[in-house]
């Protein structure tokens, strides 16, 4: 069960500008094209981020770091989501948490 906190989406609040993952309409093109073939990358990860499911995001940190940033998905995304930007953002988010540097 994914329990969503009242502060949904707060993950990105400070970086609203970059969160174009929310334009994602879940077509799955990216996941099909991704050479890594991980089920959650990148579409499902974005969903967790959008839903504010922080635990799920942490559970899937390996996938977030596994991304090659090759942009194969990005150039094919019909919604023009800047997928690798979002991945970077998620890495920053996870790293901040690891280093306990989040304000």
């Amino acid at each position: 069960m994914i329990r969503l906190r009242p502060e949904w989406r707060r993950i990105f609040e400070a970086r609203e500008r970059d969160l174009d993952a929310r334009r994602c309409f879940n077509c799955g093109t990216c996941t099909t094209l991704c050479p890594l073939g991980l089920k959650v990358l990148p579409r499902e990860i974005f969903r967790y981020a959008l839903l504010g499911a922080e635990e799920k995001l942490r559970e899937n940190r390996e996938a977030v770091y596994a991304c090659l940033l090759c942009r194969l998905c990005e150039v094919n995304c019909p919604q023009g989501v800047k997928i690798t930007e979002v991945i970077r953002l998620l890495r920053v988010y996870l790293a901040e948490e690891d280093l306990e540097v989040r304000p």
Binding site: M1, I2, R3, L4, P6, W8, R9, L19, R22, R23, C24, F25, N26, E44, R47, Y48, L50, L51, A53
Partner: protein, 571 residues
């Protein structure tokens, strides 16, 4: 009677008929038969060339009867009647025999039998044509006056459209104000104009218009007469008033589905329908922060498809209500722009913001609306209480269960039919399986009904947007205009007639007619031709065989049966 001179034409229909039926054999079987002057085959009888040839032959041989053996009369009866008229032959002296649907298509593997059947049917057609009479359509004078029932956007547009054509309008509304579903509404898609203002705008025009009379708190309570000249009754506070009108437009709309208390958490605090929420927003457009009935709203969850697209079952609303995806997305955009701090989550099945309305979906995504797709097998559970909890299985993350808290759950409910028993009773309007009034054909005759002179439009026909409701209101007005401004309506003369010397005035038939077309006058029965639909319920009832339907006279039918029986005996 003049000596019969028939022309018989048999069609190949490309190969649709002739690949199975030996059309030449059929021709030979009837050539030279008593009364038959010309017998020919044609590749495509309906082609202009073939029609020209038949017209020439009709004139040249002074033919006084015509049999065409081809497709179903549904397809080409009118074509050939018009051809007969062009040739100077009364169209009712033309008989169509169907040897395509009834022979070649029905018996593709039995060409011999199909051919024999075709011969028998054509001989039957000849038997009818030998007895056919010249008839003229029944002409009814129309009055340039119409009744519009329902003053929602569809009815208002229809009334204005009619008035602009110079037709007098009686607008009948059961409530005490116009506007229907849009009456108390704030901004609506796609124009962002307030529903309330749109209604006021139309109402001002109607109010100024001397051609339109409006009757509030009124409903239809009687209908007599015929298309072109109905005598209608409306009731208001127990008082009746008679109104005469040539046609009727039914624009009685639909109503938003309201769940039973407990269903989808409805009835508990913090759960409302989209319609209720929108009425609230219209009343409190600028309120900051957002409240709904005393609840501060930070987290707003929409549940789509409530009361629509239900799994099959008795009384299930299996249809998609069409307006609601777009209306919910539009509402979300409105909330995002006025109250950006509110988080909005959409629990949906499919997003059907079709056509131009796709932009509201994209816009809502852009604003940060979150979409969670649920399956009808595991609909969202809504747990009321001080903190509303919603549980849903998200199809987009492989059906993982998500639990979220909400301040307001907005049920995006569909539209359902309004029940107007008086319209069913007096107008005999056909109702489709969803419970909405049904048009004759969704594309070819989209606002006409099986009831002559009665048109439908707007949500009374089925769920749709205001834009579509208005367009169909204007379409209905155009149809009424075409009907009434012509000054007269022509009807098929194939109606019942009384064989005077046989009728003894027993009156048995009067009750048999479902259209009230028969009346006793003196010691005879009389047919009110404009009411008769020619369906013949009266014919078998008469003990004297004094009633018959034109074109299907006793003698004609007997001759037809004899001829068919003979044809089968030969085979």
């Amino acid at each position: 009677m003049k000596e019969p001179r028939l022309g018989v034409f048999i069609c190949h229909c490309g190969g649709n008929i002739s690949d199975v039926v030996d059309v030449e054999k059929v021709r030979q079987a009837v050539e030279g038969a008593p009364g038959v002057k010309v017998a020919q085959t044609h590749m495509f009888t309906c082609s202009e060339a073939a029609q020209q040839e038949m017209i020439r032959l009709i004139r040249e041989h002074d033919l006084n009867g015509l049999v065409i053996a081809s497709c179903s009369p549904r397809l080409h009866q009118e074509t050939f009647r018009q051809m007969a008229r062009r040739a100077g032959l009364n169209p009712y002296r033309y008989v169509q025999v169907n040897i395509r649907e009834q022979c070649s298509w029905a018996h593709p593997h039995h060409p011999g039998e199909a051919t024999r059947k075709a011969v028998a049917l054509v001989k039957g057609g000849i038997a009818r044509a030998l007895r056919a009479r010249s008839l003229e359509p029944i002409v009814i004078k129309t009055r340039p006056e119409a009744m519009v029932i329902g003053a929602g956007i569809a009815g208002l547009e229809a009334a204005l459209g009619l008035s602009r054509m110079g037709i007098k309008v009686h607008l009948v509304e059961k409530e005490d104000r116009p506007g229907g579903l849009l009456r108390d509404r704030g901004p609506i898609f796609p124009t962002d104009q307030k529903g309330r203002e749109l209604v006021e705008h139309l109402w001002r025009e109607i109010h100024r218009d001397a051609n339109i009379r409006t009757y509030f708190r009124s409903h239809l309570c009687g209908k007599e007469g015929v298309v072109g000249d109905f005598r209608l009754k409306i009731c208001r506070d127990g008082e009746e008033k008679e109104i005469r009108a040539g046609a009727i437009v039914v624009a009685t709309g639909a109503r938003p589905h309201t769940p039973q208390p407990g269903e989808w958490g409805y009835g508990s605090e913090g759960v409302c329908t989209l319609y209720e929420f929108l009425l609230h927003l219209a009343e409190h457009p600028e309120e900051k922060p957002l409240f709904y009935r005393g609840r501060r709203v930070r987290r707003l969850v929409y549940v789509y498809c409530v009361g629509s697209r239900e799994p099959a079952g008795e009384k299930a609303r299996t249809y998609c209500s069409r307006y609601c995806c777009t209306a919910a997305l539009y509402t979300a955009c409105l909330v995002h722009s006025r109250w950006p701090e509110v988080t909005q989550v959409h629990l949906y099945r499919d997003i059907r913001s079709y056509g131009k309305y796709e932009k509201y979906y994209r816009r809502a995504l852009g604003y940060g609306s979150v979409f969670v797709r649920y399956s009808p097998q595991s609909p969202p559970e809504i747990h009321p209480g001080g903190r509303l909890r919603v549980r849903v299985r998200d199809l987009l993350t492989a059906k993982q269960e998500i639990e979220l808290e909400a301040d307001l759950v907005c049920l995006v409910t569909g539209l359902e039919p309004v029940h107007s028993p008086e319209l069913l009773e007096h107008l005999k309007l056909p109702v489709g399986k969803e419970g909405f009034f049904q048009e004759v054909h969704p594309k070819l005759r989209p606002v006409e009904t099986m009831a002559d002179g009665v048109f439908i439009c707007g949500c009374a026909q089925g769920p749709r947007t205001a834009e579509e409701s208005a367009a169909s209101g204007l379409a209905a007005a155009a149809k009424v205009g075409a009907l009434l401004l012509a000054g007269e309506v022509k009807r098929e003369p194939l109606v019942a007639e009384v064989i005077e010397e046989r009728c003894d005035g027993c009156g048995e038939c009067v009750a048999a007619c479902p259209y009230g077309a028969l009346e006793l006058s003196g010691d005879r029965v009389r047919v009110r031709e404009s009411l008769c639909k020619g369906e013949g319920a009266c014919v078998p009832v008469c003990p004297q065989e004094a009633l018959q339907v034109r074109g299907y006279e006793h003698e004609t039918i007997k001759a037809l049966i004899d001829s068919l029986a003979e044809g089968l005996a030969d085979a």
